[in-house]
Amino acid sequence: MTGLVALLAQVGTEAQVDTTFDVPANVVFAVTAVFMIVAALRVVTTKNIVHAALWLIIVLGGVGVQYLLLQAEFVAVTQFLVYLGAIVVLILFGVMLTRAPLGVSTDLDNDLKPLGIGAGLVLAVVMGFALIQSFGADQLDFRAYDSALGLDDPQTAAAGRTGAVADGIFGQYLIPFEMISVLLLAALIGAIVLARRD
């Protein structure tokens, strides 16, 4: 947060547009963040379960925009494809296929609502404090990240950050990558058995 304030104070001075998380990016971040917070609140407060799923689109899409701001284009595209393209559609289909009431439902809340709000607030304050205390003074410097990934070398720069993701998947993280394929197969088999009528 202090980093954000410091950056906003820099408006008009010599902002290093190329390397840091610059002023326009901060404005887009703030606007997206406000949209996401409002939409996230609506997800849990709306009485209509279909509307909740639609509000979720804004939250998940906002996360994708944040990834784009961080220049993680591969993660952003994946976020759009998987979360907006698949998960939200899946939720809507789930609502439709289980023949849940499509209109307003009154029984979505239970008695524990105040407790939930309290726990959420405490968690938000604790995590907010810890995050600001640890990372608040940090400034995002894309050039430093690129050099850590070896992308400042013109030879490797062609592959870009997406190339770095690929290197990771087929290099250091090869075993988790292969395990996920086994996991998906097992999940598929089990889900078919549990879902089919017999």
Binding site: I175, L183, G190
Partner: protein, 511 residues
């Protein structure tokens, strides 16, 4: 044309990428196990109904086949570090892998008749069991947050579905649903903790994280480190059903098919502990000021609450669920001295884990055998067991005595090694933990021995004392667990050598 060439040149291998050097011998156990799992799927898809009869045998052969590369690796005895240290094959991880495979073997022996006689989907059952065991075997070597997380999901997701495998039964559906919801909730907390840890540790590899956390500026007053560690530990605390994250366990254990319950209570819980061992003993040990009090609270709450509720249970599976929570407390205890008595604490957790697996699996095996006659898991239905199943009664008594911690059985040695680690640390927390443990051992003795009393002295509730024939698979399962429980108690040196990272090659005669 030139633009096409330019586009194609983008597809050429990135000069920054180098093919990872793969140590095939080190990965052989995982490869054999995945190949066996794939074979099960293929056979099921091609032969359909005709494959059913072969499935348990094939799954068992796969597990035994996986033990071969583990043995060759153990004889060689070297420590292999793959993928820059994110996958480590050392004597301890081999011991844990072998434990998971033997537990899986015994669970399949327990399942064979149970699944064939009930109305279950058989072939898929063994496929899911094998994949879950693959997740555990990888977990034993994982020293990287990402790999630990994927291994955790690989072992949990099949287990969620197996808990709901009795599709017609309401309790089984409830068991699966509860386990699933609590499990994904825990995964979310865990993942959030891991992302925070990546932020401060600057790596997913545990050794690099430990290095970064050990820097002077990270040693105090960094709340994010505390938060990350608490979230990660809480995520695994759900998995090992430590209080106050235990609520799912009794309902899930009671509702799931009993062999699956045995699998959850032993293998799945052990895998959660292995994950805790990896993150705490290879990453977070540099911050004992956070880890020790956290585990003290978890351990004291788990053993006390678990034992007090277990006292009042009338169903033997629920009782074992709560006793499992209390046993988890005993296994969490050595973590309390991670900063002061590192080596003894690590070997105490591993020893307790292996012995717990043997004795608890044995208890479940006997209950499955008994339930073939009584069709019930109420403690009163065990009355008069000695008159018609004397062998099983003796075995169950040995398992219960071992769970209590009576010498010279395995459970005694497990408790002894935890105590010696706690007292050897000579810290106030360690001594307090040892005292709480002693009190809880006495409480636990009451309900364990109460079952033994019912089996030996009470009369059969329905007066039917005709001898019951137990399938050979079940007898074998009880036998394996019995031998392990007795051998580890009488010859504890066998286990300490491996757990203390002694040269296994010497123990096996390989020089």
């Amino acid at each position: 044309m030139s633009t096409l060439l330019a586009a194609l040149s983008q597809l050429a291998p990135d000069p920054g990428y180098s093919t990872p050097r793969i140590d095939w011998h080190g990965l052989a156990p995982e490869i054999v196990l995945s190949a066996g799992g794939a074979l099960l799927v293929l056979l099921d898809a091609i032969k359909l109904e005709r494959a059913k009869a072969w499935m348990p045998a094939l799954a068992n052969l796969t597990l035994l086949g996986t033990l071969i590369p583990i043995l060759t690796l153990a004889v060689e005895g070297s420590t292999r570090s793959l993928f820059g240290g994110s996958f480590v094959v050392d004597p301890m991880s081999l011991l844990l892998k072998a434990m998971f495979l033997v537990v899986g073997y015994v669970v399949i022996l327990l399942s064979t008749n149970y699944v064939a006689e009930g109305d279950y989907w058989e072939s898929e059952y063994y496929t899911l069991l094998t994949t879950s065991i693959l997740g555990m075997v990888v977990m034993a070597s994982a020293r990287d947050l990402l790999m630990i997380f994927v291994a955790l999901e690989l072992l949990s997701i099949p287990a969620y579905m197996l808990a709901a495998w009795r599709k017609g039964g309401r309790t089984s559906n409830e068991a699966g649903m509860k386990y699933y919801l609590m499990g994904v909730f825990a995964s979310a907390i865990l993942l959030y903790g891991m992302s925070l840890m990546y932020g401060v540790g600057r790596s997913t590899r545990l050794d690099v994280i430990a290095e970064n956390l050990a820097r002077p500026e990270m040693q105090s007053g960094v709340p994010i480190v505390t938060l990350a560690m608490v979230f990660i530990v809480v995520g695994f605390a759900f998995k090992v059903s430590a209080v106050p994250f235990h609520q799912w366990a009794p309902d899930t254990y009671e509702g799931a098919p009993t062999p699956v319950t045995a699998f959850l209570a032993v293998a799945s819980k052990a895998a959660g502990f292995v994950a805790l061992i990896q993150v705490v003993f290879y990453g977070f040990y540099v911050r004992p000021d956070i880890i020790e009090p956290l585990f003290f609270v978890l351990a004291v709450a788990s053993m006390t609450v678990g034992n007090l509720i277990a006292l009042r249970q009338t169903n033997v599976v629920r009782m074992l669920a709560y006793s499992g929570i209390a046993q988890a407390g005993f296994m969490l205890a050595p973590f309390v001295v991670v900063g002061d008595n590192f080596d003894s604490a690590l070997s105490a957790v591993v020893i307790y884990l292996v012995i717990y697996a043997a004795m608890n699996l044995g208890a479940f095996a006997v209950i499955i055998a008994i339930a073939r006659k009584t069709r019930s898991a109420e403690i009163t239905s065990l009355g008069g067991l000695f008159s018609y199943m004397p062998g099983m009664t003796v075995a169950m008594t040995i398992f219960l005595a071992s769970l209590t911690g009576i010498p010279p059985l395995g459970g005694w040695y497990a408790k002894f090694s935890v105590w010696s680690a706690l007292l050897g640390a000579e810290t106030a927390l360690g001594v307090a933990m040892a005292i709480v443990m002693a009190v809880n051992t006495v409480i636990a003795a009451y309900y364990y021995l109460n079952i033994a009393k019912t089996m030996w002295f009470d009369d059969a509730p329905d007066g039917d004392v005709a001898p019951v024939k137990v399938p050979v698979g079940l007898t074998g399962a009880v036998g394996i667990a019995l031998v392990a429980t007795l051998v580890f108690g009488v010859l504890p040196g066998l286990l300490t050598d491996i757990a203390a990272f002694g040269p296994v090659s010497a123990a096996l005669g390989g020089g």
